[in-house]
Amino acid sequence: MFDQARNRAAPVAPDEQIVGAIAIYGSPDDLAEAVLQARRKGFTRLDTVSPYPLHGMDELLGRGPSRLGYVAAAAGLGATALAKGVQWWISAVDYPLNIGGAPLFALPAFVPVTFELMVLFASLITVAGMLAVFNGLPRYGSALLRSRHIRDLTCNRYGLVIDAADKRFEPERVTRDLETPTREAFELLTRPRPGRFFAERILSVPFLVLLVGVGLLASTSTRLVFRYGGEIPPFDFMKRQQRVGAQRPAAFFPDQPGMRLPVEGTIARGQQPYAFRGEPENAATSLVNPVAVTRESLSRGQQRYTAFCQHCHGKLADGRGTLTAAFPKAPTLHSAKAREWNDGRIYAVLTEGQNAMPAHAAQIARTDRWQIIHYLRVLQRSQNAREQDLP
């Protein structure tokens, strides 16, 4: 027989608020019929509760395909653009680095990062979006969980839920609206009014004690761990590996020095070996200054002269440098000999050194040596100017 007592909505307590209604059925078919009837009556905010997924229920409820796919697509495309943009900015704009001659914007090399980032963003945002946007989570409780029927609904009963936000939802009439011969029970779903929730649950003594207790426990234990536990280095295997320290011997080279000499017979890219070692006169006759006299080459020469020559030879190349007390006095470069020497001869001195002057080939690049010579000529002319040099 039809149970009238169970089929009536229980009275609602004054501090409770109605959030919906649920009708209980004994079989999926009865539920499906009820769903169709409710939709015919114009209800739109419907949902069903069942112990297991019911095939076809989405269609009966009039749900279209989920829009979650668009979230995933947007997240994936956004992550793709982000990954490509970041890699382009770092590798091609902000810090261009030539790696094995590959183009700076190396598309194939950027694909793995792009792909991984796309998968990561798309999956995380899709899951988060599903929970937050489509399922309305996190939720600290559901009115459904307060229903008398929730145990049956996870076992062998099927429920039709109508949200109170439905335009046709009227608490007094909804039980009649949802009347079908097979309905087993009906209940209005309620929850405490929000104000009461805050006053009774949040401002309650046990909750506040718990909150303070957890805070104290967490801060005390953190303090103790850092005070007595010491630092736990995370990944220091790179720091602890065998390596060459600057100016230190290296254990893994049998002959010790950490700074290695180049292999015998190798020359650096774009360089040529100096062909006149020990033959400065030969250099004088064979070498010609390859650098043109320009404003740029002269100012570069001046800059290099200041860095490498001035402290011994003096600002004007007159041999009055600042290091005269500690080092043998450097000669003036305005002597007749120095002025008559051609560029190649001076280049030989710069390259190999002479008397107390050490070789500068290792410190000063080839072109710079030629530019220093240009600047030296300027200094020589400035100290030995003739009348026609005056403007």
Binding site: G100, G101, A102, P108, V111
Partner: protein
């Protein structure tokens, strides 16, 4: 158990006349073109016959792989569609016929068959113990032995089950299939090394076997999808095989095709990044002139188009769209096999010309005729499988 199927499906498939006409027409056109092609350029025709051979093998193996995969993962939804794959796996025995011109033309195709070439090159000298004709033929025989064993056990057993229902067969097949899949992966890896990679004997890529395997899987699922969608549209499949079955086929096709792109890109990236001359030469040949165009068409045709066409959910359940995409992917796969093989053999001449036209025509003719022949004696769904009824009511 109730009688699950309609009258249509328990009877053998009677092919529509149009299908047969298409097959005979394609066969006739292919024969004419093949004759002209042989008369003008024998090496090119031999290369193309190698393409057709490898393509057919991958189709057959791909279908057989699907059958073995179903047993391995104990899938239910695919049972009603399994027989289609089983029929099409019948291409495997027929591929042996296509191997004949290749085997007779080894000397024209493979540089390593010439002793003096091998002896004059220190790298090739080291490969003599592997790359020699007797061992090549022995491996060839082993591949076919493994594949035939799988074919006879899985396909033969399933068809026997129709006549004399034998519940123990499913258990045997589920135990046999994982082992067979392992052997299949190993054999197809070495087959790809032997038949394709050794065309350029200096070059090597350790991912090459996986590349061909994934290609074969894509081809198998595409062929099964094409046949299943055609049968469904023409009303040869029971009404219960519906949206959700085809959705799964479409999703598998989508996933495997993307996996192919993933593997293809992985191979390219490592070689591009390493930038070693003896590795990049293989791609250098394929990025110049007409071959560069073919490579571009392959990227778009084998990845971009199917990816976009199958991306949406509705595309995977739209039978007509699914059928077109499946056919398109098969076309892309034959181009892929052609792209793997031809640039290694001939660097001169047009990348693709009328001489290649007979390959797809012959493949169409062969596919249809073998399918008709295989499906003559057994129903289109495995009526003897005890789980068929359950599988027909599959829903996502």
């Amino acid at each position: 158990m109730t009688e699950p199927t309609s009258q249509l499906t328990s009877q053998p498939f009677s092919p529509p006349e149009g299908l047969k006409r298409l097959a005979y027409g394609a066969a006739a056109a292919a024969t004419v073109l093949l004759g002209l092609s042989v008369a003008t350029d024998l090496t090119r025709s031999l290369t193309n016959s190698l393409v057709l051979f490898v393509f057919t093998v991958t189709l057959g193996l791909g279908c057989l792989f699907l059958v073995a995969l179903e047993y391995t993962v104990n899938a239910t939804w695919s049972i009603p569609l399994r027989r289609i794959s089983e029929h099409l796996a019948g291409l495997l025995p027929f591929s042996l016929l296509l191997a004949l011109p290749v085997l007779f033309g080894l000397g024209r195709l493979y540089e390593w068959t010439h002793g003096e070439v091998m002896a004059s090159d220190p790298i090739l000298q080291a490969k003599i113990p592997y790359l020699n004709v007797p061992f090549f033929l022995a491996r060839f025989a082993i591949f076919y032995l493994v594949w035939f064993t799988g074919y006879v056990v899985l396909v033969g057993g399933s068809i026997r089950q129709d006549r004399t229902p034998d519940p123990a067969f499913g258990r045997r097949a589920r135990r046999f299939s994982p082992v067979f899949i392992i052997l299949l992966v190993i054999t197809i890896t070495f087959a790809s090394f032997d038949w394709i990679m050794s065309l350029s004997p200096h070059w090597y890529s350790s991912i090459f076997g996986i590349y061909l395997l994934v290609g074969a899987m894509v081809a198998g699922i595409a062929l099964t999808t094409l046949a299943a969608a055609t049968l469904k549209l023409k009303g040869f499949l029971p009404a219960e095989i519906g949206r959700d079955h085809f959705y799964n086929l479409g999703a598998l096709l989508f996933a495997l095709n993307t996996a192919w792109a993933y593997i293809a890109f992985a191979q390219f990236l490592l070689i591009w990044y390493g930038n070693l001359p003896h590795e990049t030469v293989w791609y250098a040949v394929r990025s110049r002139g007409g071959w560069g165009t073919v490579s571009g068409v392959l990227i778009i045709g084998h990845f971009v188009v199917p990816f976009l066409a199958l991306l949406s959910r509705s595309a995977k359940t739209d039978l007509r769209r699914l059928r077109w995409v499946a056919a398109w992917v098969l076309g892309a796969h034959v181009l892929d096999v052609y792209w793997l093989i031809s640039p290694s053999v001939r660097t001169t001449g047009t990348a693709i010309g009328w001489q290649e036209l007979w390959i797809p025509l012959a493949a169409i003719a062969l596919g249809i005729l073998v399918w008709i022949r295989q499906s003559k004696n057994s129903p289109m769904i495995p009526t003897g499988d005890p789980r068929l009824e359950h599988a027909l009511h599959f829903h996502l």
